[in-house]
């Protein structure tokens, strides 16, 4: 199929793997930033195919996983209100808050709906003027533009019954935070391709220059990822720190200027708490003054809610690449997709869920047998 088969061709994969093998002379730790890449790596078993010593460190780029617990609890509190239609992407419904998840709120009578676009939530608000429609705006720079458009549209329509609960986070500050960490092992990055379709690649130049780290903008199909690895390994072996774009079919240096303009109109950059990591300065969005009326956290008075994480969950270390999921004591025992302690065990892009689903027995030497 067009745009899919071409990037899943086993023969071409073999050639890229051979090239990587011929280039590598010593161990390298490469972080794939985006959860979509993690999913693809584990789904297709790409990490098993790389030469010994080339290791993926799974980055913090799963929007569901890094949404802090207090945001989930705020969402649950809003969703439980009788006047509210709470709209979310499907992934968020099973993410545990400190007591419940959105599925359980729905089972208790909450009106929680899965939508595929925030614009669907705006249409719901139009069609239900007696109800308050709230959209859970989570995600990185990729999901932010349509969410911003939803606010612009609601503003244009004069809707007073639409709001969004914003938990948007930004990739470059997270990469910087990881590089600043004294325990970080990351030597090169596969940057998140879809984020770069919106934001372009220019904002990574300062990171490359300051930390002398190679960054390759990478897509999501198996060949995309292997090409990204091939390029990062080549840069590492030759000692070059440079930004390369291995996802040129979607990403330009300047990105999508129209989307960026909407983002800077609707949102402003603020400090954000990342689940398992903590507050990263200037790492997220909140609504700008002009659109502050659409802030569900303020409208429903839940913005001050704070909660405690499970002490057993080591998702923060997983998200920073300090441990692999199966190195957490709770992995596969007290924490499973059925009873997740942390969000990384929930989302299909979460590193823990990916390991649990695809990696419980292979290779046994590394992961151990889990029932």
């Amino acid at each position: 199929m067009k745009y899919l088969d071409e990037f899943r061709d086993p023969a071409l994969a073999r050639r890229l793997l051979d090239e990587i093998e011929q280039t590598v002379t010593r161990p390298w730790a490469i972080m794939e930033v985006c959860g979509g890449q993690t999913h693809s790596i584990i789904r297709h078993g790409i990490d098993q195919l790389l030469p010994d010593g080339v290791e993926f460190i799974h980055g913090p780029g799963c929007p569901v996983c890094v949404t802090p617990l207090e945001m989930i609890d705020q969402a649950l509190e809003i969703a439980a209100r009788p006047e509210v239609i709470f709209c979310s992407f499907g992934d968020m419904l099973r993410v545990p808050g400190s007591q419940h998840d959105l599925f359980q709120i729905r089972a208790r009578g909450g009106d929680v709906r899965i939508v595929y676009s925030p614009l669907d939530a705006v249409r719901l608000a139009e069609a239900n003027p007696q109800r308050q429609v709230v959209f859970f705006a989570v995600g990185f720079e990729t999901t932010a533009p349509p969410n911003a458009m939803a606010v612009v549209l609601a503003h244009r329509l004069g809707l007073t019954n639409f709001s969004i609960l914003v938990s948007h986070v930004l990739v470059p500050p997270a990469m910087t935070a990881i590089l600043d960490s004294p325990v970080s092992r990351v030597q090169g990055f596969l940057a998140a391709g879809h984020v770069c379709t919106v934001m372009g690649t220019e904002e990574y130049d300062p990171i490359v220059a300051r930390y002398e780290v190679p960054i390759v903008v990478t897509g999501f199909e198996p060949l995309d990822i292997l090409d990204g690895v091939r390029r990062v390994v080549h840069l590492l072996e030759t000692g070059e720190s440079r930004l390369e774009n291995a996802y040129a079919r979607a990403v330009t240096p300047q990105g999508n200027r129209t989307a960026q303009a909407v983002l800077s109109d609707v949102f402003e950059v603020c400090d954000r708490s990342w689940r398992g990591i903590g507050i990263i300065p200037q790492s997220g969005y909140r609504l700008s003054d002009r659109y502050r009326d659409f802030d569900a956290g303020l409208r429903f008075g839940v913005a001050g809610l704070t909660v405690m994480e499970s002490p057993l969950c080591r998702a923060g270390e997983v998200l920073q690449g300090l441990i692999k999921p199966h190195q957490c004591e709770a992995f596969g025992t007290t924490c499973t997709p059925r009873n997740p302690l942390g969000a990384t065990m929930v989302s299909s892009e979460g590193a823990c869920a990916a390991y649990y689903q695809f990696r419980r027995i292979t290779p046994p030497s590394e992961v151990g047998s889990r029932g």
Partner: protein, 358 residues
């Protein structure tokens, strides 16, 4: 039948671990559904439950005749979708549950729960579709019931069909009978029903239109049984129609029930382009997407060639193929070999399929 059960008096002998209420996933055919059966229904039913390996239909001795018996409720939304409607689905689904025990369907019951206000024209179209599907499947609709609930208490209409069928002497299919060395045979491309439903439910299209594969599998099954030595399916151990939970769910169930491992060759599983595209777009695994006219069979290697040839001679088995083997390694688990030669564990979906964010 509904009069016997009194939900308000139920207690939960083994409390479900963390759910106080029913969530959608309990009906999703995945792990949550299994837990409900294991921890709530079976203990509550006690000695009156037939606690055999989970199968699509129970096989009961009635004198010298063996009867297969099954029931299924249909709550699909929308009621009409590309390639079918709730009516033919309700007939084919129950006929197929019988067929998976090797049974020829004898008769079906039809129970309707109708929402006040439903257009009679809609009900008429559904009923006509049931009549046509029953004719195609060679089964009679012999008894029925209709109840109406208040506006807002049901989503248009729900249908329950129960079915009885006759299992010929010598036919022994059971989900716990797979053995190491068996080949895993799939009757055709996967994922069409689930994607057909999702495309209309979510208003998203994926290039070409995808029709549900809803179809009665009895003839295909009979051809498979006849292709074996003795003509009664000797060498075919187990069959499943991979409906909710998809192919992955069926493989996992048989692996667990038989205490064997399954090695799946992922590249051998036929996935239509549009299904692949829809799954890529929605973040779903085609192995988890529902089918309504496919079967997966566990077959002794000595007869698998004849069985596959017989399937390919049937309209519903034209693309039948071997997709895996049974092993004594990793019992209870399905391990896929990816197109790149790596391996991954293939699990059942937990509950509801969740479209991912990006």
């Amino acid at each position: 039948m509904a009069d016997i059960l009194e939900p308000l008096t139920w207690t939960c002998p083994v409390p479900l671990r963390d759910q106080e209420r029913v969530v959608m996933g309990h009906g999703g055919g995945g792990k949550l559904s299994s837990e409900l059966i294991e921890h709530l229904f079976l203990p509550a039913f006690g000695s009156q439950a037939l606690a055999a390996a989970p199968r699509d239909s129970a096989v009961l001795d009635a004198g010298s005749t063996r009867l297969a018996f099954t029931t299924d409720s249909y709550v699909v939304q929308p009621l009409f979708f590309p390639g079918g409607c709730i009516g033919d689905l309700a007939v084919n689904g129950t006929v197929n549950d019988l067929a998976m025990s090797g049974a020829v369907p004898l008769a079906l019951s039809t129970g309707f729960i109708l929402e006040e206000g439903l257009q009679l024209e809609v009900l008429g179209r559904v009923a006509e579709a049931m009549g046509r599907a029953a004719k195609r499947a060679g089964v009679r609709l012999v008894t029925g019931d209709t109840k109406v609930v208040g506006h807002g208490s049901a989503d248009g209409l729900y249908v329950n069909t129960s079915g009885v069928g006759i299992v010929a002497a010598g036919v022994e299919l059971s989900p716990d009978a797979a053995r190491p060395g068996d080949r895993v045979v799939l009757s055709g491309p996967i994922g069409e029903h689930g994607v057909a439903i999702m495309s209309v439910r979510e208003g998203v299209e994926f290039g070409t239109r995808v029709d549900s594969d809803s179809a009665p599998l009895t003839e295909l099954v009979l051809a498979m049984l006849a292709a074996c030595p003795g003509g009664t399916g000797a060498g075919i151990r187990a069959m499943r129609d991979p409906t909710r939970g998809g192919l992955a769910g069926s493989l996992c169930e048989i692996a667990e029930a038989s205490g064997v491992g399954v090695r799946l060759d992922e590249a051998a599983v036929p996935v239509p382009d549009a299904v692949e595209a829809a799954c890529a777009f929605l973040g779903l695994d085609p192995l988890h997407v529902a089918n309504e006219g496919k079967l997966v069979a566990f077959v002794d290697p000595t007869v698998v060639g004849d069985v596959v040839a017989a399937m390919r001679a049937n309209e519903l088995g034209r693309q039948a193929c071997v997709i895996g083997t049974v092993t004594d390694e990793h019992p209870g688990m399905v391990v896929g070999r990816t197109a790149f030669g790596a391996t991954r564990v293939i699990d059942r979906p937990l509950g509801e399929q969740l479209p991912r964010i990006c």
